[in-house]
C-alpha cells in the first residue's frame, strides 16, 4: 500500500478515536481524578515508610518506587484492553471483508490509545512527582528504550490476548496472568527483593519484571550495570511480539474455518 494512503488512514483513525473518546467526556474526568488520587495514595503510603529495600536496590524511596510502578504500568499492561476494544464481534466482520490486513487495522486503530497511554503515564507521573516532592534521576535514553520495549511487549501481549479471545471467546487467562500474577511478581508495586526465592524466580519469566526493573534503573541515581538486563528485555520483547503474531494468526485462521466471528 502506498505510504500516503497509510498516513491518510492513520489520520482518519486518529480523528475517529479522538471524536469517540471526546463523546465520553465523563470517562476522561473519572480517569484523571482516579489516576491522580490513586498515585497520591501510593506515594503518601510509600513516603511514610522509614527506609526501604528500594533505596538500596534502585536508590529511590519506596514512594518514588510505587509512583513509578503505578504511573508506568499502563504502558506494558494496556495491550489487552487496547486491542479488545477494536475487535468487537460486529466490527470484526466488517473489517475482515476489507482489503486492510487485520494486524495492520488493529495497530493503526491503537495509535491513538498508545499515544494516550504514553501521555497519561507522563502526566500522572509528573503530577505525582510534583505533588509529593519525589526525587528521581532521569536517564532519558534508557527511559525511552525501556518505554519502547514495554510498548512492544504490550503489543505482543495484546495480540496473544486477542488471538485467544478469537479462539476461546474469552481472554481471562491472559488477563489473570497479566494483571493478577504479575501484580505480585512483576516488580510493579512489590519489590521483588522482599519476595520468597521461589517467587523471585517466577518474576524472571514475566516481561513486567524486565520493564519495571529497567525503569527503576533509568530513574535511579546510581545505576547498576544495565546492559545484561536491557539485553534480556530486548530478547523478551522480540520473542513476545513474535509469539503474539503467531497466536493472533492462529486465532484468525480458527474463526475463518469455524465461522465464529460473533460470540455475543
Amino acid at each position: 500500500m502506498r505510504v500516503n494512503l497509510w498516513i491518510e488512514r492513520s489520520i482518519i483513525f486518529f480523528k475517529r478515536e479522538l471524536k469517540l473518546k471526546a463523546s465520553y467526556r465523563m470517562n476522561l474526568f473519572i480517569s484523571i481524578v482516579g489516576g491522580v488520587s490513586g498515585l497520591v495514595v501510593y506515594g503518601l503510603l510509600g513516603n511514610s515508610a522509614f527506609g526501604s529495600v528500594t533505596t538500596q536496590a534502585y536508590n529511590i524511596t519506596l514512594g518514588a518506587y510505587l509512583v513509578s510502578g503505578v504511573a508506568f504500568s499502563p504502558i506494558i499492561m494496556g495491550g489487552l484492553a487496547m486491542f479488545s476494544q477494536h475487535s468487537s464481534p460486529s466490527e470484526l466482520e466488517e473489517v475482515m471483508v476489507t482489503p486492510t490486513g487485520f494486524r495492520d487495522y488493529i495497530l493503526t486503530s491503537s495509535v491513538f490509545d498508545i499515544l494516550v497511554t504514553l501521555g497519561s503515564s507522563g502526566f500522572f507521573f509528573g503530577t505525582a512527582t510534583l505533588l509529593l516532592g519525589l526525587n528521581y534521576s532521569f536517564n532519558i535514553p534508557l527511559l525511552a528504550l525501556v518505554t519502547l520495549l514495554g510498548l512492544l511487549c504490550s503489543i505482543g501481549l495484546g495480540f496473544i490476548g486477542l488471538g485467544m479471545r478469537l479462539i476461546y471467546k474469552q481472554s481471562s487467562l491472559v488477563s489473570w496472568v497479566v494483571f493478577s500474577l504479575t501484580g505480585l511478581v512483576g516488580n510493579i508495586i512489590v519489590p521483588i527483593q522482599i519476595l520468597p526465592t521461589i517467587l523471585q524466580s517466577v518474576s524472571y519469566v514475566t516481561p513486567q519484571y524486565y520493564f519495571f526493573t529497567s525503569l527503576r534503573v533509568a530513574l535511579g541515581s546510581e545505576s547498576p550495570p544495565v546492559g545484561p538486563l536491557v539485553g534480556l528485555f530486548v530478547v523478551y520483547a522480540i520473542v513476545l511480539l513474535g509469539a503474539g503474531v503467531l497466536v493472533l494468526d492462529r486465532g484468525l485462521r480458527f474463526i475463518r474455518r469455524n465461522g465464529t466471528h460473533r460470540w455475543i
Binding site: E8, F13, S90, P99, G101, R256, G259
Partner: protein
C-alpha cells in the same frame, strides 16, 4: 471476468451441546453440499432460502470471511483462499448483522470515512463518493447526526453505502431489507435495481419470495445445503 464462480463447494460446522447434555447431539452439521454457481458479469441473482438454509454462509465464503471445506470459489478471477486480499478489493458486502459495525456516537460521515480508509480509498475521492452516495440513498441532511439516531432502514441504507465505497464490481447483499419497514424496503430495492442497471454483479439473499421476484435475473433456492435454479415463471405464478 467480473463475476463469481463456485465449484463443488462444501462447508460444515461443528455443533456443540450445552454442558451437561448428551454428546450425541454434537457433531458436524453440513451447511453447503457441492454447491456450484456462476454469476456472470453484470448479472443479478436472488438466492432464496429458509432461515438457516446456508445463504449467509455462502455470502461469508464469497466475501472471504470464512473458508470452504472443499471446492473452489473465485471472484473476478481471484481465488478466495489464495488471493483473499484481491477478492476484498473487488467485493462490496452488506452483511446481515445487527449494528453493522457503525459507532453509534459518531456521524455517518465519520463512520464512512473510517471504512473508506479500510477499503483503501484515498480520502479526497472518498469524501466525494460519500457525499454522492448519501445523496442517492436519501441520507443527505442527516449525515452529521450520530448514528444512534438512525432508524433500522437508515442503518441498512448506510450499510449499503459502505458496501459501495470502493465502487466494487461485485456486490453481496445478505438480506438487505431484514427488519426494515415496507416503505424503506421499496427504496432499498429501487437502489439495488439502479446498481444492477449500472453494471454491478449482484448476489442478493432473502427468505422472502416477493423480494426475490422483485428483481430481474435468476432466482435460486438453497435447501438442505443444495442449490437449485428455479423456474422464474413458476415462482412468479
Amino acid at each position: 471476468m467480473n463475476g463469481i464462480r463456485l465449484h463443488a463447494v462444501w462447508k460444515s460446522f461443528s455443533r456443540k451441546s450445552e454442558i451437561g447434555h448428551s454428546k450425541a447431539s454434537s457433531g458436524k452439521s453440513e451447511v453447503l453440499r457441492e454447491v456450484t454457481l456462476q454469476l456472470d458479469e453484470r448479472e443479478i441473482v436472488s438466492l432464496l432460502g429458509r432461515n438457516g438454509a446456508g445463504k449467509t454462509t455462502l455470502i461469508r465464503i464469497i466475501s472471504t470471511l470464512i473458508e470452504p471445506d472443499a471446492g473452489k470459489v473465485e471472484v473476478c478471477g481471484y481465488d478466495v483462499k489464495k488471493q483473499a486480499h484481491q477478492v476484498r478489493r473487488h467485493v462490496g458486502v452488506m452483511l446481515n448483522a445487527g449494528e453493522g459495525g457503525f459507532q453509534s456516537r459518531l456521524s455517518a460521515i465519520t463512520n464512512l470515512e473510517y471504512y473508506a480508509a479500510l477499503y483503501q480509498v484515498p480520502i479526497r475521492q472518498a469524501r466525494i463518493r460519500i457525499r454522492d452516495l448519501l445523496q442517492e440513498m436519501g441520507l443527505a441532511g442527516r449525515e452529521w447526526d450520530q448514528c444512534q439516531s438512525y432508524s433500522s432502514g437508515m442503518r441498512r441504507r448506510l450499510a449499503l453505502v459502505r458496501a459501495l465505497l470502493s465502487d466494487p464490481p461485485v456486490l453481496l447483499l445478505d438480506e438487505p431489507t431484514l427488519g426494515v419497514d415496507p416503505w424503506s424496503t421499496g427504496e432499498i430495492h429501487q437502489m439495488i435495481r439502479k446498481l444492477a442497471e449500472g453494471g454491478k454483479t449482484i448476489l442478493i439473499t432473502t427468505n422472502n419470495v416477493s423480494e426475490a421476484r422483485g428483481f430481474d435475473g435468476r432466482i435460486l433456492t438453497l435447501e438442505n445445503g443444495t442449490l437449485t435454479e428455479q423456474d422464474r415463471e413458476a415462482i412468479l405464478s
